[in-house]
């Protein structure tokens, strides 16, 4: 059986939601929050030991986008991934890559100086640039969603789960009203939030607590 190493309120939420979408049995293993003290550069270097970790046989996956991609292939009957070789599949890759390497990393830069304990000039400058880039990203996503209900046209995919997490109050903190002022983003967040699999995930992790981070 697959196992998910998790802590409430972290990127484990999207891994958990993706598992719930597959309907496959899995075991949740809660991990202590000890790694919060690790410097982010150390955690970025060696992804092992990070939460979440999806253990599936000999595979050990950490990054939310990789977990979604893998589960979509393992469970092709789930709604996570469009069929291989279709234009929708290509679009699904594009959104997962963009959300993971641009929106997610803008959050990391906005949050990271706190983890570093850098309240000085550099920390403020990095945070400000990260916040500026978050607004740019959400504007882009909002514009791309014009005239459609999901990131990949034609229906829900695992990419919508990743955007749902990154637009949630756990991530956006005091930027939440600004993020939800993008109406397409807010509508997609609400639609994904209502999915039974996401409701089951939220029952496991508890309510948004506005305390997550990178």
């Amino acid at each position: 059986m697959m196992r998910l190493l998790w802590m409430p309120g972290t990127t484990a939420t999207v891994a958990c939601a993706a598992l719930e979408e597959t309907g496959a049995p899995y075991e949740l293993v809660e991990v202590e929050r000890h790694d919060r003290a690790d410097p982010p550069e150390l955690r970025a270097v060696d992804p092992h030991g990070l939460v979440p970790a999806l253990l599936d046989g000999d595979l050990r996956l950490h990054e939310p986008a990789a977990i979604i991609l893998h589960l979509g292939d393992r469970f092709p009957e789930s709604p996570l991934a469009p069929p291989v070789g279709t234009p929708r599949r290509a679009e699904y890759y594009r959104w997962l890559a963009y959300l993971a390497n641009t929106l997610h990393t803008a959050f990391t830069r906005w949050h990271a100086p706190r983890h570093l304990g850098d309240d000085g000039e550099l920390g403020r400058a990095l945070r400000a640039a990260g916040e500026r880039d978050l607004h740019t990203c959400f504007d882009h996503v909002d514009a791309q969603l014009a005239g459609r209900d999901t990131l990949v046209p034609g229906g829900f995919t695992g990419a919508d789960l990743l955007l749902h997490m990154l637009a949630s109050p756990n991530w956006t903190l005091d930027l939440q009203p600004a993020v939800f002022s993008r109406r397409q983003v807010a509508a997609l967040h609400a639609a994904v939030d209502a999915r039974p699999a996401v409701q089951r995930m939220k029952a496991i992790h508890g309510p948004d607590r506005g305390s997550a981070g990178a």
């Binding site: 992804p47 393992r74 890559a97 390497n101 882009h140």
Partner: protein
């Protein structure tokens, strides 16, 4: 016909290596990115943020280097650029591509373009120094991962190797280039000798 919009040596490098590896019929187009010029409509459609690479193939329009190499691997299933869908190796391949595009790649941009990542005048050199320290640790870790093999996944050259080779090239002016480490040096030299990479080096005059 496939069109790859790119700039020599930029993030279009990994997709181009994959197209060469697949023996694809494609054209490489450098979009006009000077301010005030939106560039060819096909490029704008593929990459609304006007970032290279952009990729157009009939009804597929794509941006994001990692997404494009995954798509090329699916488009040319006989290329061996990806392990079979549903296999453990495929999961491992996703792990590597996602790691490379989310972790070293954005930090390489901080090293190359520090002014984009800070609002504080005069802090650029500190941004670069912080990026270098993080990249050194990432490439140390990758070097260790390659200690017992020549390729990242599945015992053969895949799109993940093309991506790593591209990132290694971007480190060539760093104090400690990625390929100054023993296993990455082997990976770098073997990569240069591959016909696909050798062809792109010539076509893009990468020296």
């Amino acid at each position: 016909m496939i069109t790859l919009f790119g700039i020599p040596g930029a993030a279009s490098l990994a997709p181009r290596i994959c197209l060469e590896e697949a023996g694809a019929d494609y054209v490489f187009v450098e979009p006009d990115r000077t301010p005030g010029h939106a560039g060819p409509p096909e490029f704008v459609a593929a990459s609304p943020l006007l970032q290279v690479p952009g990729y157009v193939d009939r009804d597929v329009r794509l941006s994001e280097a990692a997404a494009i190499v995954m798509h090329i691997a699916d488009r040319f299933p006989d290329s061996g650029l990806a392990p079979p869908v549903g296999s453990d190796e495929r999961g491992d391949w996703y792990r590597w591509l996602v790691y490379l595009t989310t972790t070293p790649m954005p930090v390489l941009y901080q090293w190359l373009y520090p002014e984009r990542f800070t609002t504080g005048p005069g802090t650029e050199e500190r941004v670069r120094a912080y990026a270098v320290s993080r990249l050194d640790r990432m490439f140390d870790w990758i070097d260790g991962e390659l200690s017992d093999r020549d390729h990242l996944v599945g015992g053969r050259f895949t799109a993940a190797d093309a991506f790593l080779w591209m990132l290694c090239r971007w480190t060539r002016n760093m104090p400690r280039p990625a390929f100054s480490r023993p296993n990455l040096e082997r990976f770098w030299v073997q990569g240069r000798a591959r016909p696909s990479i050798a062809a792109v080096i010539v076509k893009e005059r990468l020296g």
